[in-house]
């Protein structure tokens, strides 16, 4: 299992955000994306997820399921939480379980200490609780690649620890993680990519 990106150029709204970016990530490795605001961290994650197409360059996942796109083998947690306020915490995860195909809601809730909020309507969640619900999605089904965009946003100390533990299990299981962040995640990263100043 290996993720290879080569000579990537990203254009958004007609402007080149970054160019000639490449990296290589082996099984069980965590890649940290750093760089100032607007340097293209989220954009790079979207490229990997296949939500945007690179203006140039290639992204390949060696040793994955050939017939599946990289996105279909990845979990993606964006800046937005993809939480439905009108559903309860459990219902939100139930839905993602069905869509992502299988998974254990109980375990996912427990993994981010949301078990006690299971029956709670998501409207009433605080910012951090909502973020945890978004993160719980990645604990549902195992997927080879995790794409996390500033995952620790709004999390309290304890939740950050839980997140670290979660990421560690993914790495130990030979999975890959690409995480964009401005603050230390509290877990040592094998690789780091600094996108530098926005062009």
């Amino acid at each position: 299992m290996q993720l290879e990106a080569d000579q990537l150029r990203c254009e958004r709204g007609g402007r080149t955000v970054f160019a000639a970016v490449g990296f290589s990530l082996k099984a069980g490795e965590l890649l940290l994306l750093t760089g100032p605001n607007g340097s293209g961290k989220s954009s790079l994650l979207r490229l990997i997820a296949g939500l945007n197409d690179p203006a140039a360059g290639t992204i390949i996942l060696h040793g994955g399921h050939g017939e599946l796109s990289i996105g279909q083998q990845a979990h993606y947690v964006a800046h937005q939480d993809a939480v439905k306020p009108a559903l309860t915490v459990a219902e939100n995860l139930e839905f993602w379980r069905a869509v992502l195909g299988g998974g254990d809601v109980e375990r996912a809730l427990a993994a981010l200490d949301l078990a006690r909020l299971a029956a709670y309507p998501a409207t009433l969640l605080s910012a951090g609780q909502k973020r945890r619900l978004a993160l719980a999605r990645v604990a549902l089904v195992p997927r080879a690649l995790w794409l996390l965009d500033e995952p620790t946003t709004g999390l309290d100390k304890n939740s950050r620890l839980l997140l670290c533990r979660l990421m560690q299990t993914q790495l130990d299981a030979g999975g890959l993680i690409v995480a964009a962040t401005h603050v230390p995640l509290g877990i040592e990263a094998q690789r780091q990519l600094d996108l530098g100043e926005p062009s």
Partner: protein
């Protein structure tokens, strides 16, 4: 498959909990039906003549009013991106959401509309064909509405734009829907068949169109 059911179920739940429930749709439909005689005058004969058309227009409008947000919420809260990365192809996602809209709004209206017809004295013998025509037509309406919703999902105030885009596409449905209720039995069957054809065609095509539009907005 399982995933599609989940989508449909979720959208139905949401529309129920967020005030977009069947009851509301019916309520709106009723209000439109009330407005018509007020606007057009209480003359019995006149109302009787225009009853089917009035019901159809009311149906079109209430479908449209509820349509513009089929995808918007999922687009704005980031759910759509996750759905786009899910095993389920985006076409089926669009189809599922269109179906959810049909179940929660169009179908109930299509079923009850002819029954409410007596309020604007619809002839009794027109009830059954009208009901059938609306049942078939409403499928097309919801599917086209989904396309319109997808095409405007990025625009926050899409409401009117959707209508502007979709209403013209509704014209065929309206025409054949009326001829189903108006003319004799053979004309009725003919138009019902055409409505069926329209429904099938949009069943195949509109998910493709909607999904394409959504993808381009996600980029």
């Amino acid at each position: 498959m399982n995933a599609m059911w989940a989508l449909i179920r979720r959208d139905l739940t949401l529309s129920l909990r967020q005030g977009g429930g069947v009851g509301t749709a019916l309520g709106f439909f009723l209000t439109v039906v009330v407005l018509l005689p007020l606007g057009l005058g209480p003359d019995q004969a006149l109302l009787q003549r225009i009853a089917p058309g009035a019901l159809w227009i009311a149906l079109l409008l209430s479908v449209l009013l509820s349509a513009d947000r089929i995808f918007q919420q999922d687009f704005e809260d980031g759910s759509l991106e996750i759905l786009a990365m899910a095993p389920l192809p985006l076409e089926l996602v669009a189809l599922a959401k269109a179906m959810a809209h049909w179940l929660s709004t169009s179908l109930p209206l299509a079923v009850t509309a002819p029954l409410l017809g007596f309020l604007i004295n619809l002839e009794p013998q027109a009830v059954l064909p009208l009901g059938l025509a609306m049942g078939l037509g409403s499928v097309t309406l919801s599917l086209l509405a989904a396309v319109g919703a997808a095409v405007t999902v990025g625009l926050r105030r899409g409401g009117l734009l959707v209508s502007l885009l979709v209403l013209p596409l509704y014209v065929p449905v309206l025409i054949f829907g009326l001829s189903a209720a108006g003319g004799g039995p053979d004309l009725a069957t003919a138009s019902l068949l055409i409505l069926l054809a329209l429904a099938l065609a949009s069943l195949v095509l509109s998910p493709l169109a909607a999904a394409a539009a959504l993808r381009s907005y996600l980029k």
